[in-house]
Symmetry: C2
Subunit: 526 residues, 2 copies
């Protein structure tokens, strides 16, 4: 396999020559009913990916297919599935797909079959959740657990939290609400203090998540929790389980009720489908619900092996993103779910995308000569319509948009006002926004004019279920992976977090030796 | 007064000529202890604005001062305070400053003194909150109110919600927690349904907020609430107060327990210091706490009259933002509060900034030839450090950063791990990040290299109190206003929301006559 920089490919030259086709794409003429009907790629979990309102002509699509072929994107994905070393910086495999099922060869490392290891841990924490639900495992006073609190930050917080919120209401109406989950992440003491003050400690199981077992914020918050438990007369070792790697100080530690393991091949932002997300989600909704998430994700992973870009939504989404980033010059993407349940899904996507592809060197450590990952931000619709959409419609720059919507609500509880239900209004707004962004509107008053030409895609499905959610999660993971392959960067490391950590240690050690660091420390009265 | 486009000013030419001073600003050499000590502008509420790590030389600062003078930014602010027509598109005044106190002449309109009108409404809803707290006003069964639920969207949601979350923990430890607040905003029926299912309706007062009284989402959610109240055997007219304009269908309506009024001169995103934020905050924390927010905001408004940019933090912040946007070419800004209490403050700033200045035409409706408002996004630190900071440190593009931090936590509840409290760790991380972003680090391994040169500012203070929060809120309002003056745009309208509204109505009316709109409606099974 050949790993070359994007701007050294033939496809880069071809796409450069096509830039005008994108810039001058005539949305008003092109966005026909036929295009909207047919420009849809299938996704897993009953979802579909509509790209009708993206500035891609037949020529552009052909060039993107040629790019996928030339950069051997599917072959690289297969290599990753087989356990080849993708995480070049630190020479690590990236095996999150294997958490959901096996699509490649057996992956043997550290003397074991890792697929078997992941299955075994899944079985272990599924059983633990079952035991908690059955009352076979209780807190130190014998009371049943009614609450679960995750202690973790970054990938140990954003993904699990987004997935919990995505299913909380679904579970309520489907009879799958088991425990109520909360989350402690920030080292700001107000975070842990506030959560603990409003949680019934006697009935709470804490899920302490740190792969390395050395995360500063998480260890500080662990002590916070332990002190409150002790002050309440409870035994912390009966109220905390750990999710960590087997080599971490948290592993095999009698200080915890139980421990569940991941390994170095599961990156934080890709760990929602491991015990990092699995323990809290299984406790909250039952192990069966978590397995439905895994099934949806596995289906999406299998579909991502398809080499025809029109049949592979995550690949197509990735390539259109590259087209917009590198040739049309848009430095951001807005993620806009028309679903209150996905209120924190954009925050997860923000980490997933920006931490994976916010890189300026290629796999070999040489600076690249083109833009890589964009800034990702977003809020749910229709809320955002009454907020930042003004700039999206009439600002001086163009922001590509990624919409998500569902035919049905989760709770099925609705009202009819002026002849339509709220769910219908929600969907009508979504259809209207896509059309408005693409086609715009002329007006004699330029302040009321909409220039349109704002590209968007739409992921849509019947209802946000665990199965659909798993597919949605994996879609974006695979999209980001394919973009990393195109850009020839390592999407699975995060060296950019190290300098801040090192300087923080210096400050806390009392003498940093850096005049700026010391002067800022004085401003903050450290 | 002269309203001219930014690129027609002498200052624009001067700043253009200085671009290289910004691009080549030598952070490593310039970021001395002396600069960090002295590059601080005073703010209201005991806050300070540090701009040491911004790429501004003495020459640049002088040119920015000249820009402020040439574009008559203070005179334009004074005119706005005096009630001159700033909202040119719809010919409306912008009077949110007058909610906090009077800094200009009396503003007479619609046959009344508007300062008096705002004071009278403040007094009315303060008394209402007092009555609720005293048990003199109760729900229809005579039970005391323990919960308040805001029904509103956009400016009727984001600002009030951000302020509520900002003070919830402060109030808990200061003995100022009166009612627990919740918020319903989205037209997605799952939003209202979930909030109502988890709220004790008998003890809940709803605050229905819509200036026009015609907001689609808010009216749908009002009916949602009324139906649930009736189903619970409660009388809606005893559980709902309205905040609206006197000309709206909600005004003087016996369907509500009481009504409080704003007028057309208070824009949604500027309405947190009116009854839009005031009713829910007074109910939650007491009228006295809300008045402290107003005092902090009024102090900030007074300080913003200072013509020396080094003594006027909101003006300086605005001008540095213009420098970064128009000359250094950065199309985004990240808002990064190191305070869990400010978890939703970035979402409010996102609306405030992007809805105000996301404009492509000037005050006279002519397209401008320069970039206006940037994309604004953000999450609290340290959480963001474990997420999107990778791109901020090592991405291919530069994102200017706006940090916020406090010396003390709100709750004062803390633990010591490895010799430092969590609050100290929080601050050490903040100092470390600013330094790391500015100065970077060389490394033999390019993947571990940080190029630095990432500009940031820091707003800091002792503790996030209501007074400080008011000052912080007004700082950003005034910053955005000054930028609008520089760009010669109208920061107080939002025509960009209209097209989506119109197309939504067409869809809901059943026949849109637009093939694209109908095709998307079919995808979503409308």
């Amino acid at each position: 396999m050949r790993y070359i920089d994007f701007d050294k490919t033939q496809a880069f030259t071809t796409l450069s020559a096509l830039t005008r086709e994108g810039v001058h794409f005539d949305y008003a003429a092109e966005l026909t009913a036929e295009r909207i009907r047919s420009a849809v790629a299938p996704m897993a979990g009953g979802l579909s990916y509509s790209f009708a309102a993206k500035p891609v002509t037949k020529n552009v699509l052909a060039a993107l297919q040629a790019l996928a072929d030339e950069q051997e994107l599917i072959a690289k994905y297969r290599a990753l599935l087989d356990g080849d070393m993708m995480n070049t910086g630190e020479r690590r495999k990236a095996l999150h797909h294997l958490l959901r099922g096996q699509l490649g060869t057996d992956v043997i490392a550290d003397g074991k079959n890792l697929g078997d290891f992941y299955k075994q841990e899944l079985a272990r924490f599924s059983r633990f959740a079952d035991d908690v639900h059955a009352g076979a495992v209780t807190g130190s006073t014998g009371k049943r657990f009614t609450h679960a609190v995750q202690i973790g930050i970054g990938g140990s917080d954003l993904g699990p939290r987004a997935l919990y919120l995505a299913l909380e209401q679904w579970a309520a109406v489907e009879g799958s609400r088991k425990l109520t989950a909360k989350f402690i992440s920030n080292v700001d003491p107000d975070d842990a203090s506030a959560v603990l003050a409003s949680t019934p400690l006697e009935e709470t199981v804490f899920v302490l998540v740190s792969k390395s077992g050395t995360t500063q914020e998480t260890l500080a918050n662990e002590l916070f929790v332990k002190e409150k438990l002790k002050a309440a007369g409870l035994d912390p070792s009966r109220h905390i389980v750990a999710v960590t790697s087997e080599t971490s100080p948290l592993a095999h530690n009698p200080a915890y009720l139980d421990s569940f393991y991941i390994d170095d091949y599961i990156g934080g932002r890709y760990s929602s489908t491991s015990g990092v997300g699995g323990v809290i989600l299984s406790l909250s909704f039952g192990a069966g619900v978590f397995k439905q998430i895994l099934e949806g994700a596995h289906e999406a992973d299998a579909l991502a092996l398809e080499s025809d870009i029109l049949k592979n939504a995550s690949l197509l989404d990735a390539l259109i993103g590259v087209w917009e980033r590198n040739f049309l010059g848009f430095p951001y993407t807005a993620a806009l779910p028309y679903s209150q349940a996905l209120s924190r899904f954009p925050a997860h996507l923000q980490q997933l995308d920006m931490e994976s592809n916010g890189k300026r060197v290629n796999r070999n450590g040489q600076p690249v000569g083109y833009a890589t990952g964009p800034v990702v931000f977003g809020e749910p619709g229709t809320n955002g319509q009454h907020s930042f959409y003004q700039l999206l419609h009439q600002g001086t720059d163009i922001v590509p948009l990624q919409f998500i919507g569902f035919v049905e609500s989760q709770r099925g509880d609705d009202v009819t006002v002026d002849g339509s239900s709220s769910q219908t209004k929600l969907k009508a707004n979504l259809a209207a926004q896509i059309t408005a962004f693409a086609k715009g509107k002329t007006d004699a008053d330029p302040n009321k004019e909409f220039t349109g030409k704002r590209p968007s895609s739409l992921i849509f499905g019947k209802r946000l279920t665990p199965h659909a959610l798993g597919a949605l999660l994996a879609h974006f993971e695979n999209k980001v992976m394919f973009q990393g392959f195109v850009w020839n960067i390592n999407s699975f490391d995060q060296e950019g977090v190290q300098l801040g950590k090192a300087l923080t240690k210096k400050v806390l050690a009392g003498g940093s030796g850096d005049a700026a660091l010391e002067a800022y420390s004085r401003l903050l009265d450290i």
